[in-house]
């Protein structure tokens, strides 16, 4: 039996809630500059747009972990 490093619910929580909160609450305040333009957007706007897509991705991973761990029947 492979050792369980993390309980699936904890792992899902870290990925599904930890990462998005870090993306926005911890990282985004450091991107408060007018330049450079990324895809035409100021850094903060680019980051928050990317963050939306990444949040969906993180929640999808959390969902897969929960389903696999038998947490969602």
């Amino acid at each position: 039996m492979a050792k369980k490093i993390l309980h699936p619910r904890i792992l899902a929580l870290i990925i599904g809630m930890g990462i998005p909160w870090i993306l926005f609450v911890v990282i985004s305040p450091f991107l408060n500059f007018p330049e450079p333009r990324i895809l035409g957007l100021p850094p903060l706007m680019f980051w928050n747009t990317l963050g939306i897509v990444l949040t969906s991705l993180c929640l999808f991973l959390a969902y897969l972990i929960e389903v696999k761990g038998g947490k969602i029947e």
Partner: protein, 478 residues
């Protein structure tokens, strides 16, 4: 009149279509209370998704987001952020809420308080707080709706007609079809909002400036960063407050209970952030107006002005329809939620022997009464409840310890939850009306939540949680 024929036809066509779909959703159905308030817990992924997105993004997702972008620039980035924080928190919270709702047959937020804390008084307090902060919000939606209809019809639909028609249409389909009707109507509304943003609004900066970079070049420098009273402390504290407080709004609960199973509910949360991308074209439209150097007396008009600048006038009719869509999808859900709180948590507790049929009838009558009350408020006292609106978000957030600690902490009890809510609301009301507002640049609601949590911890340690149902709740969410 000629120029207005097409916009008016689009707007009224859309309103009538919404009405028909809403009535058909519940026709020939005999509703139980559960069937009426939470659609019998049987909604699939598509309906639960449009129900929530329609509810969450109101008329002010268009008016306010573009208006803020126009006035303050990057400060509006908080609204792109907190949605994601709320959804990632909600993904986990809603799972517990749904499981409890299914097992103990909750239909409102106050039902949880009633059951977990075994306290009718706490349930009534929670229901009252929910109602007090929801009614002005309902009224505000109605005003936003009539305002967009007025502009969209090139001024041919007077404000009062917009308010009356909007409310009568909503009362009709909420009365006849409950949550099921709202979810079907929201399928139309969410689709229209999405299309308007991605097709009409996204093109505006490109039409006017050729590229986004050029548009941002033309913006005043102050629009490109967070600064001043909307600096980093404000931004971060608002993200935290709104991210945690979002799923404390009472109207979010029926939508959660309505999901047919846990998988559907969680998939819905996985997809929710993607809908919020539609805010980006809205914000860009507002920024475009600022970059063009147009001076607006009312910044909330920015999205309408942007449309006027970039398109022929009849397109405004489509925007008018979208305004109806955005406002009615939110307002109808609030209307039903308030009715649920009134019937189940106030009438039902005052008269414990009430039958299911009786409560369903009380809910339906409440829909009509609350609808008319909100309509009268919007018509005759438009500015009166501004104070409550300023407090609404921060106010509902004060439920947070009661909900979250109630799930996980054994010592949490009714005294602590009740005292926390009262202390939190007292703090925010004081800061907003008598104190410095966002003290030290931190959102006043977050101060309220901090005081709230301190009070909760103290009271929980000096009082007993005997006779409450922590274990039962704990078992159910395992």
């Amino acid at each position: 009149m000629n120029e207005a024929i097409i916009p008016l036809a689009i707007i009224f066509g859309w309103i009538i279509l919404s009405l028909i779909v809403g009535i058909l959703a519940g026709i020939k159905k005999k509703f139980t209370l559960e069937g009426y308030l939470v659609s019998g817990r049987a909604l699939g992924l598509v309906l639960i998704y449009v129900l929530m997105t329609g509810e969450i993004y109101s008329a002010y997702a268009f008016l306010g987001a573009a208006g803020w972008g126009y006035s303050y620039g990057m400060a509006i980035m908080y609204s792109l952020g907190y949605g994601c924080l709320a959804y990632s928190f909600g993904y986990f919270l809603a799972g517990f809420v749904w499981k409890l709702g299914k097992k103990f047959r909750y239909a409102t937020q106050a039902d949880f308080f009633n059951h977990r804390y075994n306290s009718r008084w706490l349930a009534i307090l929670v229901a009252l707080v929910g109602i007090v902060f929801s009614i002005p919000y309902l009224q505000l939606q109605l005003q936003g709706l009539s305002y967009i209809l007025h502009a969209g019809s090139l001024g041919y639909i007077p404000i009062w007609v917009g308010i009356v028609v909007g409310m009568v249409v909503m009362i009709t389909y909420v009365y006849s079809s409950g949550l099921k009707g709202i979810s079907w109507v929201n399928l139309l509304q969410a689709t229209l909002m999405f299309l308007i943003a991605w097709v009409l609004l996204l093109a505006i900066p490109f039409k006017e400036f050729g590229s986004l970079s050029l548009m941002f070049e033309s913006l005043p420098k102050s629009h490109l960063t967070l600064h001043g009273s909307m600096g980093i402390p404000w931004y971060v504290s608002t993200l935290i407050l709104c991210g945690l407080g979002f799923f404390m709004y009472p109207q979010m609960y029926p939508a959660i209970y309505g999901a047919k199973d846990l998988k559907t509910l969680k998939r819905n949360y996985v997809l929710l952030p993607l809908f919020s991308l539609f805010m980006i074209p809205v914000v860009l439209a507002g920024l475009t107006v600022a970059a063009l150097g147009v001076k607006l007396a009312t910044p909330d008009e920015a999205v309408l002005i942007a449309t006027k600048i970039a398109y022929p006038s009849w397109i405004l009719g489509v925007v008018g329809a979208a305004g109806f869509a955005a406002a009615s999808s939110t307002a109808s859900a609030i209307l039903l939620t308030i009715s649920g709180l009134l019937s189940k948590n106030i009438y039902g507790i005052a008269k414990p022997g009430a039958t299911d049929r009786e409560l369903t009838l009380v809910s339906r009558i409440s829909v009509i009464l609350i609808g008319i009350a909100a309509m009268l408020l919007a018509l005759y006292a438009a500015g009166r409840l501004v104070g409550l609106i300023l407090l609404a978000y921060a106010g509902v957030t004060q439920m947070f310890p009661g909900v979250v600690l109630g799930l996980f902490w054994k010592r949490m009890n009714k005294w602590a939850a009740g005292a926390g809510i009262i202390a939190g609301i007292g703090t925010i009301a004081y800061l907003k009306f008598f104190g410095p507002g966002d003290y030290l640049g931190i959102h006043f609601g977050l101060w309220g939540l901090m005081i709230n949590i301190i009070v909760v911890l103290i009271v929980a340690f000096i009082t007993s949680s005997k006779g409450e149902r922590f274990q039962e709740v704990r078992e159910a969410i395992k």
